[in-house]
């Protein structure tokens, strides 16, 4: 059993930190992908044509109920072998697509909950003022629907940050893989993996506090919301 060594700690730190850069980059890329793709799911949900909506919702349900690891493996290893549409993808791109699509299904639900929470009276007021569809969404509905979802969206950012090490299984070497490699090379795992834990904590915990604060601020704002329309009985 090897004891704690500060010299190993300082030796491993830059290596692990390099991995952190990749992990953060991947987190942000996946998150942006999921934020945008989430909107597409929300639009699909609102489509009036059943024949298109239902199969796509089924696909969404399927994506949500399969593990992200399986999806990553499929995109990276199996997709290139699919006839016609299949192609080989770079590990980083595969990870962005795989994790991005997986989380977009959850983020689409977050958007939907925000939109559903907008009082029916607001839609009616927009109609009574003769708003067209696009202005109704950009000026009336979304400015009310999105702010309350910010805390939930922030939570998904943290969850995603903790999940991206999955991508090391297809070769995107982030913080955990770098630490693991260092351990294998020097036969010392304690220090590099401790650094990993500390770095995750240092990033996740303040983010969680920040999101909590945001949440309280949003709640305060919407506490004061006037009781409007039919739901306010």
């Amino acid at each position: 059993m090897s004891n704690w060594s500060w010299s190993t700690f300082s030796d491993a730190f830059p290596v692990v930190l390099e991995g952190l850069g990749i992990t953060l980059g991947l987190t942000i890329a996946c998150y942006l992908f999921a934020l945008i793709f989430g909107f597409i799911w929300t639009l699909i949900r609102r489509m009036p044509i059943k024949v298109i909506r239902l199969p796509l919702l089924w696909v969404m349900e399927f994506i949500r109920s399969t593990p992200p690891l399986v999806q990553l493996f499929f995109i990276f290893y199996a997709w290139p072998m699919v006839p016609v549409v299949g192609m080989a993808l770079d590990p980083f791109v595969s990870a962005v697509i795989g994790l991005g699509i997986h989380y977009s299904t959850y983020i689409g639900e977050v958007y939907r909950s925000g939109i559903d929470a907008v009082d029916n009276g607001q839609w009616e007021a927009a109609r009574a003022l003769n708003y067209g569809t696009s202005k109704k969404w950009t000026k009336i509905i979304l400015p009310q629907a999105l702010p309350p979802t910010i805390p939930m969206l922030g939570n998904y950012l943290i969850i995603m940050f903790k999940e991206v090490p999955l991508a090391s299984t297809i070769g995107v070497l982030g913080i955990l893989a770098m630490a693991n490699d260092y351990g294998a090379q020097h036969w010392r795992y304690l220090e590099p993996l401790t650094i990993v834990a500390i770095l995750f904590l240092v990033l996740s915990y303040p983010s969680a506090i920040l999101i909590n604060k945001l949440e309280r601020k949003m709640n305060k704002r919407f506490d004061k919301k006037e009781p409007t329309g039919s739901k306010a009985v």
């Binding site: 009276g121 009616e124 007021a125 109609r127 003022l129 702010p147 006037e226 409007t228």
Partner: protein, 256 residues
């Protein structure tokens, strides 16, 4: 008599199996003030909601200023109206709601300015000027930068009226606009409606439970009962001289 600005032709409305309106025929003249009274569930709110295109009639037609509201012509046939057609026809109609429905993320001034800018495509400066003028008229010139959550119910309803008026509609609909207010705040809202009515040029349809007020400002009162217009006429005839038993018992509950 001049051409009516609104005409209902045998309008029916059902929600599921429940028939709410069973054949409404009604002409409203330009600048006419019509009050609609009746027991709850009689369909009085539904009448104006169909005119604002918030509910679609099950059958019959509504003509606004000579144009069919819920139908449009296509290759010589009448087909259900699309959103574009609805927008064209309902542009002259404004509405004030029971629960105000102000936009909580905008200040009072922004609430009034938003539709003139984004719907009527007015320039920002003139929309702002009109809005301030209108808010001063309803007595809220000192609240321009407040948010709706900071106002009393009566103040909110006055903002809602300014927001509708700044669009300069030819027809204004009032859906039980004092029902959600504390009793001591009802007066200030009725006062504003009275001012608007006295200006005279707009047609107004008020769904209300304020009998005295209806008598004061309406040219005509409709008593709606069981999905039909059971009685109509000048306020005095309807409120004092009617022999309709249902109307008598309805009014009796308000006199006690």
């Amino acid at each position: 008599m001049s051409e009516p600005i609104v005409r209902y032709n045998d309008v029916h409305k059902s929600f599921g199996d429940v028939q709410v309106l069973k054949g409404i025929d009604l002409d409203i003249q330009p600048a006419e003030k019509v009050a609609v009274i009746g027991p709850s569930g009689s369909g009085k709110t539904t009448i104006i909601r169909m005119l604002m295109t918030l509910e679609q009639p099950t059958s019959g037609s509504i003509i606004v200023d000579g144009k069919n509201l819920w139908h449009m012509e296509k290759d010589g046939d009448l087909v259900p109206a699309n959103e574009k057609h609805l927008r064209q026809v309902r542009g002259d109609i404004g509405m004030v709601f029971q629960h105000f429905n102000l936009f909580p993320h905008m200040t009072i001034l922004e609430n009034c300015m938003t539709a003139p800018i984004h719907v009527q495509k007015k320039d920002k400066e003139s929309a702002k000027k009109d809005s301030i003028e209108m808010l001063e008229k309803v007595g809220l010139g000192d609240k321009l930068d407040d948010y709706p959550a900071m106002l009393s119910g009566g103040q909110k309803q006055r903002v809602a009226m300014a927001r509708a008026l700044v669009m300069h509609p030819k027809i204004m609909l009032f859906d039980e606009v004092t029902s959600a207010l504390d009793p001591e705040l009802v007066g200030e809202v009725l006062e504003v409606i009275r001012d608007i009515a006295n200006e005279g040029e707009m047609a107004m349809v008020l769904v209300t439970h304020e009998m005295e007020f209806a008598r004061d400002i309406a040219d005509r009162i409709l008593f709606l009962d069981n999905g039909v217009i059971a009685e109509e006429g000048p306020p005095m005839d309807v409120l004092e001289n009617s022999t309709n038993e249902r109307l008598q018992s309805f009014l009796h509950r308000f006199r006690t």
